[in-house]
Symmetry: C2
Subunit: 214 residues, 2 copies
DNA sequence: TAGATTGTTAATCGATTAACAATC
DNA sequence: TAGATTGTTAATCGATTAACAATC
């Protein structure tokens, strides 16, 4: 059945296709072939057609795909036809950066509110910042399903617990610990130090290799 | 030969092992078995031994691994025995958050400086912030190899060009476009909107599935 | 020694790519 | 129609897991 995909890499590619399609559209294109889109998204044409096939997204044999239709289909699959409400817990540097990040709105993601234990950080920037005690009632009253955790690592498990116990189903976690939730909780850990560590490893590895060659 | 690994997932796991080992060490453990470490890092014991095998990291048959030795080995593989100098381009919200992020220092990563086109953002927070014109000479004078790109997407390709042309080999990119460098440039794209989009997709997918079941 | 754990090889699994029949 | 592109199936590739001989 369509929609039963658990392969994260595939979903990441759908987002990439969507972004590439917006770009192509802004350049004046109306149609694409799997070939063009593959180029734009930096994958193989087979991959494009395979991914679409998985989700039942079809084009026209010989005629390629209509960009507007494709964007529409991808947006529907990615749940972007409905505004997604999100809260941020932790209004420190990372949380603050996310509150001020301009990229969410045009992707139909709405930051409803932020929460912080420290009253000093509770200065409004358009998005209301509430004390942590209001987190639980806020989630319940607003049926929040998605949360961004940007608190220090010692605070993360406790925050996590509050979120999960009150119905939050998806968490994007910036605390440098691996959070585990219930079975039906979707958790994505973004560890900035680890990302950098990885880049450093591959740079070093490459340097060794090229020295070995030269 | 050891060290010739291009599998990103494997390197990510090495970082995870390292972090798990620090945690185990702080709990008073001196040795671990692949079994324990697998538990702590949320992988299979086979995976742990296989990963170590790839890098020639060995333990004692019957006796497991000495945590201190293991940490030492992993740090060496990940290039953490040398302080890694990094610069940040773009001192906006994301760049500013990274400048103030406390996690880098204890991982032996040093943010040397930040750069921004906007003089208004150039207020020191311990890390010097320079105008963009100084980026090129700074990279050369300090032999910078790693850069974090946190500028708006329109500015990213130009910044990228300056970095690559002056010898930067690794880039962690927060601009919401896929940067491509030369063949020997390591680029890791972190797209926050896409990360959130993914979480949203999987939450929605799960909801549909459980409704279908119930 | 007997028992337990490593290190490595073989088996499995899943994802990507290639191939090609269907068809516009 | 002839030619080109999709949609899907089969082949390939690579990564993970299982199994087990080596050995402490």
């Amino acid at each position: 059945m369509a929609g039963m995909v658990t392969n994260k890499a595939c979903i990441v590619r759908l987002s990439r296709y969507k972004n590439a399609l917006y770009r192509l559209k802004s350049l004046g294109f109306v149609k694409v072939f799997s070939d063009n889109l593959a180029d734009a998204a930096d994958v193989t044409p087979s991959q494009v057609r395979k991914d679409f096939s998985i989700f039942g997204v079809t084009g026209n044999k010989r005629g390629g795909y209509v960009i507007d239709d494709l964007i529409e289909s991808l947006n529907r699959i990615l749940g972007k036809n409905v505004t997604q409400n999100v809260i941020i817990i932790g209004a420190g540097h990372i949380g603050g950066a996310l509150m001020n990040y301009q990229g969410f709105e045009k992707e139909n993601i709405k930051i409803l509110a932020a929460f912080d234990i420290d009253p000093a950080k509770r200065q409004s920037t358009g998005i209301p910042i509430y004390p942590l005690e209001e987190l639980e009632p806020f989630i319940k009253n607003n049926k929040v399903r998605i949360g961004i955790v940007a608190v220090p690592d010692v605070a993360a498990p406790r925050v996590m617990e509050i979120l999960v116990n009150n119905g939050v189903k998806g968490i994007l976690n910036f605390a440098p610990i691996r959070l585990k939730g219930k079975d039906d909780t979707v958790i994505s850990n973004v560890n900035l130090v680890m990302e950098l560590e990885n880049v450093i490893y591959f740079v070093n590895a490459q340097e060794k290799t090229s020295k070995g060659r030269g």
